[in-house]
Symmetry: C2
DNA sequence: ATAAATACTTGCAATATGCAAGTTAATTAT
DNA sequence: ATAATTAACTTGCATATTGCAAGTATTTAT
Protein backbone atom coordinates (compact mmCIF):
# COMPACT_ATOMS: atom_id res chain seq x y z
CA UNK A 1 0.00 0.00 0.00
CA UNK A 2 2.89 2.21 -0.92
CA UNK A 3 3.26 5.92 -0.72
CA UNK A 4 0.04 7.57 0.39
CA UNK A 5 1.76 10.81 1.11
CA UNK A 6 3.11 11.13 -2.39
CA UNK A 7 -0.32 10.64 -3.88
CA UNK A 8 -1.87 13.24 -1.63
CA UNK A 9 0.92 15.73 -1.91
CA UNK A 10 0.72 15.55 -5.65
CA UNK A 11 -3.02 16.00 -5.73
CA UNK A 12 -3.04 18.86 -3.29
CA UNK A 13 -0.27 20.64 -5.13
CA UNK A 14 -2.13 20.37 -8.40
CA UNK A 15 -5.33 21.60 -6.89
CA UNK A 16 -3.42 24.51 -5.40
CA UNK A 17 -2.14 25.46 -8.83
CA UNK A 18 -5.64 25.22 -10.16
CA UNK A 19 -6.82 27.57 -7.46
CA UNK A 20 -4.14 30.09 -8.23
CA UNK A 21 -5.29 30.66 -11.78
CA UNK A 22 -8.78 31.47 -10.71
CA UNK A 23 -8.42 34.80 -9.07
CA UNK A 24 -8.83 37.33 -11.82
CA UNK A 25 -12.32 38.40 -12.79
CA UNK A 26 -13.04 41.27 -15.13
CA UNK A 27 -10.74 44.02 -13.92
CA UNK A 28 -10.57 42.78 -10.35
CA UNK A 29 -7.53 40.78 -9.35
CA UNK A 30 -7.37 39.20 -5.95
CA UNK A 31 -5.02 36.85 -4.17
CA UNK A 32 -5.62 33.21 -3.44
CA UNK A 33 -6.19 33.94 0.23
CA UNK A 34 -8.67 36.65 -0.63
CA UNK A 35 -10.57 34.30 -2.91
CA UNK A 36 -10.84 31.87 -0.03
CA UNK A 37 -12.21 34.60 2.18
CA UNK A 38 -14.87 35.47 -0.37
CA UNK A 39 -15.68 31.80 -0.66
CA UNK A 40 -16.11 31.36 3.07
CA UNK A 41 -18.21 34.47 3.50
CA UNK A 42 -20.34 33.42 0.58
CA UNK A 43 -21.16 29.98 1.89
CA UNK A 44 -22.00 31.14 5.40
CA UNK A 45 -24.83 33.38 6.48
CA UNK A 46 -23.43 36.60 7.81
CA UNK A 47 -20.49 35.10 9.63
CA UNK A 48 -18.40 36.90 12.22
CA UNK A 49 -14.70 37.61 11.77
CA UNK A 50 -13.84 34.86 14.22
CA UNK A 51 -15.83 32.27 12.37
CA UNK A 52 -14.18 32.90 9.05
CA UNK A 53 -10.72 33.31 10.53
CA UNK A 54 -11.17 29.97 12.29
CA UNK A 55 -12.37 28.31 9.11
CA UNK A 56 -9.28 29.54 7.32
CA UNK A 57 -7.02 28.71 10.26
CA UNK A 58 -5.63 32.22 10.11
CA UNK A 59 -4.66 34.50 12.93
CA UNK A 60 -7.40 37.00 13.61
CA UNK A 61 -5.04 39.93 13.18
CA UNK A 62 -3.95 38.79 9.75
CA UNK A 63 -7.53 38.16 8.82
CA UNK A 64 -8.62 41.56 10.05
CA UNK A 65 -6.21 43.20 7.65
CA UNK A 66 -7.29 41.04 4.76
CA UNK A 67 -10.86 42.06 5.37
CA UNK A 68 -9.82 45.69 5.43
CA UNK A 69 -8.25 45.42 2.01
CA UNK A 70 -11.25 43.55 0.63
CA UNK A 71 -13.45 46.33 1.94
CA UNK A 72 -11.20 48.89 0.34
CA UNK A 73 -11.65 47.33 -3.08
CA UNK A 74 -15.36 47.11 -2.44
CA UNK A 75 -15.96 43.37 -2.30
CA UNK A 76 -16.74 42.84 1.36
CA UNK A 77 -18.92 44.53 3.95
CA UNK A 78 -18.38 44.56 7.69
CA UNK A 79 -21.01 45.77 10.13
CA UNK A 80 -21.29 45.61 13.90
CA UNK A 81 -23.82 43.06 15.07
CA UNK A 82 -26.79 44.66 16.74
CA UNK A 83 -27.05 41.81 19.21
CA UNK A 84 -23.41 41.99 20.32
CA UNK A 85 -21.49 45.08 19.36
CA UNK A 86 -18.15 43.39 19.71
CA UNK A 87 -18.96 41.18 16.79
CA UNK A 88 -18.48 42.28 13.20
CA UNK A 89 -20.77 40.65 10.68
CA UNK A 90 -19.24 40.02 7.30
CA UNK A 91 -20.97 40.03 3.95
CA UNK A 92 -20.33 40.41 0.26
CA UNK A 93 -21.12 43.50 -1.74
CA UNK A 94 -22.91 43.08 -5.04
CA UNK A 95 -19.53 43.22 -6.75
CA UNK A 96 -18.19 40.75 -4.20
CA UNK A 97 -20.96 38.34 -5.03
CA UNK A 98 -20.24 38.73 -8.71
CA UNK A 99 -16.58 37.96 -8.17
CA UNK A 100 -17.31 35.01 -5.90
CA UNK A 101 -19.72 33.61 -8.42
CA UNK A 102 -17.32 34.07 -11.29
CA UNK A 103 -14.57 32.26 -9.41
CA UNK A 104 -17.02 29.53 -8.49
CA UNK A 105 -18.04 29.07 -12.12
CA UNK A 106 -14.46 29.05 -13.20
CA UNK A 107 -13.50 26.41 -10.67
CA UNK A 108 -16.50 24.28 -11.53
CA UNK A 109 -15.57 24.45 -15.19
CA UNK A 110 -12.01 23.44 -14.44
CA UNK A 111 -13.17 20.55 -12.31
CA UNK A 112 -15.57 19.44 -15.01
CA UNK A 113 -12.77 19.51 -17.51
CA UNK A 114 -10.63 17.39 -15.22
CA UNK A 115 -13.47 14.98 -14.61
CA UNK A 116 -14.06 14.69 -18.33
CA UNK A 117 -10.89 12.62 -18.50
CA UNK A 118 -12.56 9.89 -16.49
CA UNK A 119 -15.40 7.50 -17.15
CA UNK A 120 -18.74 8.13 -15.51
CA UNK A 121 -18.07 5.25 -13.17
CA UNK A 122 -14.72 6.66 -12.17
CA UNK A 123 -16.21 10.10 -11.64
CA UNK A 124 -18.76 8.75 -9.21
CA UNK A 125 -16.16 6.77 -7.39
CA UNK A 126 -13.85 9.74 -7.07
CA UNK A 127 -16.57 12.01 -5.73
CA UNK A 128 -17.66 9.46 -3.22
CA UNK A 129 -14.09 8.94 -2.16
CA UNK A 130 -13.56 12.62 -1.52
CA UNK A 131 -16.64 12.62 0.65
CA UNK A 132 -15.40 9.62 2.59
CA UNK A 133 -12.04 11.24 3.00
CA UNK A 134 -13.55 14.42 4.32
CA UNK A 135 -15.58 12.48 6.83
CA UNK A 136 -12.56 10.50 7.93
CA UNK A 137 -10.52 13.66 8.35
CA UNK A 138 -13.31 15.25 10.31
CA UNK A 139 -13.32 12.27 12.66
CA UNK A 140 -9.56 12.20 12.89
CA UNK A 141 -7.74 13.27 16.02
CA UNK A 142 -4.74 14.65 14.15
CA UNK A 143 -6.50 16.92 11.75
CA UNK A 144 -8.54 19.97 11.53
CA UNK A 145 -10.55 19.77 14.65
CA UNK A 146 -12.32 23.09 14.41
CA UNK A 147 -13.50 22.89 10.81
CA UNK A 148 -16.81 23.03 9.07
CA UNK B 1 -23.74 16.27 -9.19
CA UNK B 2 -23.71 19.15 -6.79
CA UNK B 3 -20.82 21.05 -5.43
CA UNK B 4 -17.53 19.50 -6.49
CA UNK B 5 -15.60 22.58 -5.56
CA UNK B 6 -16.82 22.53 -2.00
CA UNK B 7 -15.74 18.92 -1.56
CA UNK B 8 -12.31 19.59 -2.96
CA UNK B 9 -11.77 22.86 -1.18
CA UNK B 10 -12.63 21.23 2.10
CA UNK B 11 -10.31 18.32 1.54
CA UNK B 12 -7.41 20.43 0.39
CA UNK B 13 -7.80 22.79 3.31
CA UNK B 14 -7.74 19.92 5.75
CA UNK B 15 -4.73 18.37 4.16
CA UNK B 16 -3.02 21.73 4.31
CA UNK B 17 -3.63 21.93 8.02
CA UNK B 18 -2.27 18.45 8.39
CA UNK B 19 0.87 19.49 6.57
CA UNK B 20 1.38 22.47 8.79
CA UNK B 21 1.71 20.45 11.94
CA UNK B 22 4.44 18.33 10.53
CA UNK B 23 7.37 20.65 10.35
CA UNK B 24 9.09 20.33 13.67
CA UNK B 25 11.59 17.57 14.18
CA UNK B 26 13.87 17.31 17.19
CA UNK B 27 15.24 20.81 17.62
CA UNK B 28 14.84 21.76 13.97
CA UNK B 29 11.81 23.78 13.01
CA UNK B 30 11.11 24.53 9.39
CA UNK B 31 8.34 26.17 7.45
CA UNK B 32 5.78 24.41 5.32
CA UNK B 33 7.46 25.61 2.15
CA UNK B 34 10.81 24.41 3.37
CA UNK B 35 9.38 20.98 4.13
CA UNK B 36 8.11 20.79 0.58
CA UNK B 37 11.54 21.65 -0.72
CA UNK B 38 13.11 18.88 1.33
CA UNK B 39 10.45 16.54 0.06
CA UNK B 40 11.07 17.41 -3.57
CA UNK B 41 14.83 17.15 -3.28
CA UNK B 42 14.48 13.85 -1.49
CA UNK B 43 12.33 12.21 -4.12
CA UNK B 44 14.46 13.30 -7.07
CA UNK B 45 18.01 12.34 -7.84
CA UNK B 46 20.21 15.36 -7.56
CA UNK B 47 17.79 17.83 -9.09
CA UNK B 48 18.74 21.26 -10.31
CA UNK B 49 17.33 24.47 -8.84
CA UNK B 50 15.12 24.94 -11.88
CA UNK B 51 13.61 21.49 -11.58
CA UNK B 52 12.58 21.90 -7.98
CA UNK B 53 11.44 25.48 -8.41
CA UNK B 54 9.27 24.35 -11.31
CA UNK B 55 7.87 21.47 -9.33
CA UNK B 56 6.91 23.86 -6.56
CA UNK B 57 5.67 26.48 -9.01
CA UNK B 58 7.81 29.08 -7.29
CA UNK B 59 9.79 31.87 -8.79
CA UNK B 60 13.43 30.93 -9.08
CA UNK B 61 14.54 33.95 -7.10
CA UNK B 62 12.31 33.09 -4.19
CA UNK B 63 13.44 29.54 -4.37
CA UNK B 64 17.08 30.53 -4.48
CA UNK B 65 16.69 32.33 -1.19
CA UNK B 66 14.86 29.43 0.40
CA UNK B 67 17.69 27.14 -0.56
CA UNK B 68 20.17 29.55 0.94
CA UNK B 69 18.41 29.46 4.28
CA UNK B 70 18.13 25.67 4.17
CA UNK B 71 21.87 25.52 3.52
CA UNK B 72 22.48 27.88 6.41
CA UNK B 73 20.71 25.56 8.83
CA UNK B 74 22.59 22.63 7.35
CA UNK B 75 19.83 20.62 5.71
CA UNK B 76 20.57 21.11 2.04
CA UNK B 77 23.64 21.00 -0.17
CA UNK B 78 24.16 22.86 -3.43
CA UNK B 79 27.02 22.11 -5.79
CA UNK B 80 27.81 23.18 -9.31
CA UNK B 81 27.25 20.44 -11.86
CA UNK B 82 30.47 19.25 -13.43
CA UNK B 83 28.72 18.73 -16.76
CA UNK B 84 27.20 22.21 -16.90
CA UNK B 85 28.60 24.76 -14.53
CA UNK B 86 25.53 26.98 -14.74
CA UNK B 87 23.52 24.31 -13.02
CA UNK B 88 23.46 23.86 -9.27
CA UNK B 89 22.79 20.35 -8.09
CA UNK B 90 20.76 20.07 -4.91
CA UNK B 91 20.95 17.40 -2.27
CA UNK B 92 20.17 16.71 1.36
CA UNK B 93 22.74 16.61 4.13
CA UNK B 94 22.62 13.73 6.55
CA UNK B 95 20.63 15.93 8.89
CA UNK B 96 18.41 16.95 5.99
CA UNK B 97 17.69 13.33 5.24
CA UNK B 98 16.86 12.72 8.87
CA UNK B 99 14.42 15.60 8.90
CA UNK B 100 12.84 14.61 5.60
CA UNK B 101 12.41 11.07 6.84
CA UNK B 102 10.94 12.17 10.14
CA UNK B 103 8.39 14.37 8.38
CA UNK B 104 7.60 11.54 6.00
CA UNK B 105 6.99 9.13 8.91
CA UNK B 106 4.88 11.68 10.66
CA UNK B 107 2.74 12.30 7.60
CA UNK B 108 2.36 8.59 6.95
CA UNK B 109 1.23 8.06 10.50
CA UNK B 110 -1.30 10.86 10.22
CA UNK B 111 -2.63 9.46 6.98
CA UNK B 112 -2.87 6.01 8.50
CA UNK B 113 -4.82 7.42 11.37
CA UNK B 114 -7.20 9.12 8.99
CA UNK B 115 -7.57 5.97 6.94
CA UNK B 116 -8.28 3.98 10.06
CA UNK B 117 -11.69 5.65 10.14
CA UNK B 118 -12.64 3.84 6.94
CA UNK B 119 -13.25 0.23 6.04
CA UNK B 120 -10.63 -1.63 4.07
CA UNK B 121 -12.84 -1.45 1.04
CA UNK B 122 -13.23 2.28 1.36
CA UNK B 123 -9.51 2.73 1.87
CA UNK B 124 -8.76 0.96 -1.38
CA UNK B 125 -11.38 2.93 -3.21
CA UNK B 126 -10.06 6.23 -1.90
CA UNK B 127 -6.49 5.45 -2.85
CA UNK B 128 -7.48 4.38 -6.30
CA UNK B 129 -9.56 7.51 -6.69
CA UNK B 130 -6.67 9.74 -5.79
CA UNK B 131 -4.59 8.01 -8.41
CA UNK B 132 -7.29 8.48 -11.01
CA UNK B 133 -7.64 12.08 -10.06
CA UNK B 134 -3.93 12.69 -10.41
CA UNK B 135 -3.92 11.13 -13.83
CA UNK B 136 -6.91 13.17 -14.91
CA UNK B 137 -5.29 16.36 -13.69
CA UNK B 138 -2.09 15.47 -15.45
CA UNK B 139 -4.02 15.06 -18.69
CA UNK B 140 -6.01 18.22 -18.10
CA UNK B 141 -5.40 21.31 -20.14
CA UNK B 142 -6.22 23.70 -17.32
CA UNK B 143 -3.97 22.31 -14.67
CA UNK B 144 -0.44 21.81 -13.78
CA UNK B 145 1.10 21.16 -17.11
CA UNK B 146 4.71 21.06 -16.07
CA UNK B 147 4.40 18.71 -13.12
CA UNK B 148 5.88 15.35 -12.21
C1' DA C 1 -19.57 47.10 40.94
C1' DT C 2 -15.50 44.76 39.72
C1' DA C 3 -13.17 41.17 37.44
C1' DA C 4 -12.65 38.24 33.62
C1' DA C 5 -13.57 36.86 29.11
C1' DT C 6 -14.61 37.86 24.15
C1' DA C 7 -14.14 40.11 19.63
C1' DC C 8 -11.71 42.52 17.46
C1' DT C 9 -7.61 46.31 15.88
C1' DT C 10 -3.02 48.18 15.57
C1' DG C 11 2.09 48.13 16.11
C1' DC C 12 5.85 45.90 15.33
C1' DA C 13 9.30 42.60 13.31
C1' DA C 14 10.23 38.70 10.64
C1' DT C 15 9.47 36.23 6.41
C1' DA C 16 7.96 35.41 1.73
C1' DT C 17 6.98 36.90 -2.66
C1' DG C 18 7.97 38.29 -7.69
C1' DC C 19 9.90 41.35 -11.06
C1' DA C 20 13.80 43.46 -13.08
C1' DA C 21 18.51 43.69 -13.71
C1' DG C 22 22.89 41.55 -13.26
C1' DT C 23 26.56 37.52 -13.62
C1' DT C 24 28.54 33.55 -15.45
C1' DA C 25 28.37 29.61 -18.47
C1' DA C 26 26.83 27.13 -22.51
C1' DT C 27 24.71 27.15 -27.27
C1' DT C 28 23.76 28.75 -31.54
C1' DA C 29 24.27 31.55 -35.34
C1' DT C 30 27.37 33.76 -38.82
C1' DA D 1 36.29 31.42 -34.35
C1' DT D 2 33.74 35.12 -32.77
C1' DA D 3 29.54 37.25 -31.76
C1' DA D 4 24.84 37.00 -30.36
C1' DT D 5 21.47 34.47 -27.88
C1' DT D 6 19.87 31.59 -24.49
C1' DA D 7 19.97 29.36 -19.91
C1' DA D 8 20.75 28.97 -14.90
C1' DC D 9 20.99 31.17 -11.46
C1' DT D 10 21.72 35.57 -7.76
C1' DT D 11 20.82 40.06 -5.84
C1' DG D 12 18.20 44.45 -5.20
C1' DC D 13 14.22 46.39 -4.59
C1' DA D 14 9.33 47.05 -3.25
C1' DT D 15 5.30 44.87 -1.57
C1' DA D 16 2.51 41.51 0.81
C1' DT D 17 1.71 38.15 4.44
C1' DT D 18 2.29 36.43 8.68
C1' DG D 19 1.87 36.10 13.94
C1' DC D 20 2.63 37.81 18.51
C1' DA D 21 1.90 41.26 21.89
C1' DA D 22 -0.50 44.98 23.52
C1' DG D 23 -4.43 47.79 23.20
C1' DT D 24 -9.79 49.07 23.00
C1' DA D 25 -14.53 48.21 23.49
C1' DT D 26 -18.26 45.26 24.87
C1' DT D 27 -20.33 41.53 27.36
C1' DT D 28 -20.57 38.10 30.97
C1' DA D 29 -19.54 36.35 35.63
C1' DT D 30 -19.20 37.08 40.55
Amino acid sequence: MENKRELFQSMVKRFGLLNKNCCTVDDVEISLVQSHILYEIDRREWPSMQQVADALATDLSTFSRQVQSLMKIGLVTKDPSSADKRISVLGLTEEGQKVALAIQKDMEAHLEEIFSHMTEFEQDMVLQSIKLLNEAMARSSVCCKPMY
